[in-house]
Symmetry: C2
Subunit: 297 residues, 2 copies
C-alpha cells in the first residue's frame, strides 16, 4: 500500500489517518470531505497528507486502498461512483454502521475480474461527539473491528491479498478483527447499539416535552424543576440523544426491520415491568438485569 | 446539636457522617446498621464514632438529630419506632428516594406538642455502587438536597429551629437546599430518576434473555456474540441495571402510579419511533432529543 484515500474525514476517518501514521505507514494519505472545515482540520492534525479538491479527484486518485468513512447512504453513493474505476487488487472498504445493504451492493458492483475488491467493515469505536477535531490515533485500540467479507468463489489471489493486508493494518491499530455475516452484524447491532440509541432518543425527547423550557401555564412542569435532580443517571441515559440525525437516519433506513423488532420487544418488556411494579416479577427483572451487568464486567 | 444518630450506614449514611466531621461537627456521631459489616466499615472510616449494639439502643440514645438512611420501607418502620420517644426540639430526618408516603406518615406521627420534628429529605447524590466503603465526605458537594417539610400551623419555635439548623448543616456539606411538596417530588423523580432506572433494568434484562450465556442450540444468539460490540453506549445504558432490588422494590411500592404513568408514556414514545423509522418524524424526535441534551449541559 502506497496511497490511501480517506473519504469522510470526521472522527472515524481522521482517526484512521492518525492510526495509519502511528503504525508506521510510510505512503501518502489523501483525504476528501464534503465539509471543507472537517477536511482542513484533518489535514492540520496530520491525519491526511493532502486534501483532495473534489469528488472527481477521489476517483482520479486510484488509491491502493479507499476508506469510505461517511454515513451509510453516502457510502452507498460512493460505491456506485467507485465501482467503474478499474483496479483489480485495489481495495475499497468502509466503516458504516449497518452492513446488509452495503454488502449486497458490493456483491453486485465489486469483486469481479478487473474490478476492485470491496471489504465491508465496522469498527466498534467512537466518542461522545464527532468531528475531525476529536480524532485520536488510539481510538481503535482494543476495539472490535467487524468485517462482513463478500464470499466470491472466483476471488483472485490479488483480491484475497488485499483483504488480508487490510486485516493486518487494522490489527496494527490495536483492533481485534472479527468476521460476521452482514445479516448477523445488523441484527446484533440492532440489539446492542441501535436499540440503546433509540431508547436514549425517546427518553430525552419525552423529557424535553414533559419539562419544556418555559412552563405553558403557572405551576405546570418546566425545565427548571428537574435541574440538579436527575444527576449522573439521567445524563448517562440521555447522552446518546445528542447524536446527529444524519447518521441515525441512515441506520434506521438500512436496518429498519431488526430495529423495529428490538423496539417492539423492549416496549413489551417495559409494559411487563409497569404491570408488575408491586409483584415478585419486579425482583425477577432486576435480578436478570443484575446478571447481565455482572457478566458484562 | 451534640449527638447525631445515623441509622443505615451505607453509602449515603456513612457519607453524611464523614461530611459532618469535615464540616467541623464537634459532637458525637452514633451509628446503627442491620448489616454488621457496613456498620464496622463506617466506624473504621471514622464516619461514626460509636456503633450502637441494637435497634433498642437507637431509641435509647435520644439523639438531637436522627438521620434515617435506609431504603424507604425500613424508614417507615423506623418512623413508627421513633415516634413515641419524647423529644420536642429533637429532629428526625431521612434520605429516602420517595417522599409522599414518608411525609404522610410524618404528619400523623410527628410535629405534635412534645413530639420530635420530622423533616423528609432526599439528597440527589450517589455512586455507581453502594456501601459504606465508598463513603465520601464530598459526596453532597454541589448536589441538590430536596426537602418536603411538613407544614404544621402549630409548629413551635423549637421545631422550626431544628429544621433550620439541619438546612444549615446540609448547606455546610456544600449541598443546595430546595423545598418541594412531597407529591411533586415523587412525580419529578418518577420522570428523571425512576423511569431511567426502570428503562435500564428492562434493557439489561431483555439483552440478558436475548443473548444467554450459553446458546440454547447451535448458531442461536448468545452472550459471546455481543462481547466488544456494544461498547460505551451499551455499558452506560445498562449501568443502572446493576442497582439492588432492595432499594428499587421500595421505590416501586411507594411511587407506583407516577412510575407507571412515566413508563406508559415512554412505551408510546418508543412505539412512535418504531412506526416512524423511515419518516420525517424520526428527524423531529432526534431534534427534540438533541435540544434536551443541549439545555442539560
Amino acid at each position: 500500500m502506497k496511497r490511501i484515500t480517506i473519504v469522510g474525514t470526521g472522527l472515524i476517518g481522521a482517526s484512521i489517518g492518525l492510526a495509519l501514521k502511528a503504525s508506521g505507514f510510510a505512503g501518502t494519505i489523501l483525504g476528501w470531505d464534503a465539509n471543507a472545515t472537517e477536511l482542513a482540520t484533518a489535514q492540520q492534525l496530520g491525519a491526511i497528507d493532502e486534501a483532495l479538491p473534489s469528488r472527481e479527484a477521489v476517483l482520479a486518485a486510484q488509491a491502493d486502498v479507499t476508506v469510505l468513512a461517511t454515513p451509510v447512504m453516502a457510502i452507498l453513493d460512493w460505491m456506485e461512483r467507485l465501482a467503474p474505476v478499474p483496479g483489480e487488487g485495489r481495495l475499497v472498504t468502509d466503516v458504516g454502521s449497518t452492513k446488509r445493504e452495503i454488502a449486497h451492493l458490493a456483491e453486485k458492483l465489486f469483486n469481479a475480474p478487473g474490478r476492485a475488491t470491496f471489504l465491508p467493515g465496522h469498527p466498534m469505536a467512537g466518542k461522545e461527539s464527532g468531528g475531525a477535531s476529536l480524532a485520536d490515533a488510539t481510538l481503535f485500540h482494543n476495539a472490535t473491528w467487524i468485517f462482513t467479507p463478500i464470499s466470491t468463489a472466483a476471488a483472485t489471489s490479488a483480491q484475497n491479498n488485499a483483504v488480508q493486508a487490510w486485516y493486518g493494518t487494522v490489527s496494527s491499530f490495536g483492533a481485534q478483527v472479527r468476521e460476521l455475516t452482514p445479516e448477523r452484524h445488523d441484527e446484533i447491532c440492532a440489539w446492542v447499539s441501535h436499540l440503546p440509541q433509540m431508547v436514549s432518543t425517546a427518553l430525552a425527547a419525552l423529557l424535553a416535552d414533559e419539562f419544556p423550557a418555559a412552563a405553558p401555564e403557572p405551576g405546570s412542569p418546566h425545565a427548571a424543576e428537574i435541574e440538579g435532580v436527575g444527576g449522573r443517571a439521567l445524563r448517562e441515559m440521555t447522552r446518546l440523544g445528542a447524536s446527529p440525525y444524519s447518521m441515525w437516519r441512515d441506520v434506521a433506513l438500512t436496518n429498519t426491520e431488526p430495529i423495529a423488532q428490538a423496539l417492539a420487544a423492549l416496549e413489551q418488556r417495559l409494559a411487563h415491568l409497569r404491570e408488575n411494579l408491586r409483584t415478585p416479577d419486579l425482583r425477577e427483572e432486576i435480578k436478570t438485569a443484575n446478571h447481565f451487568r455482572d457478566r458484562s464486567r
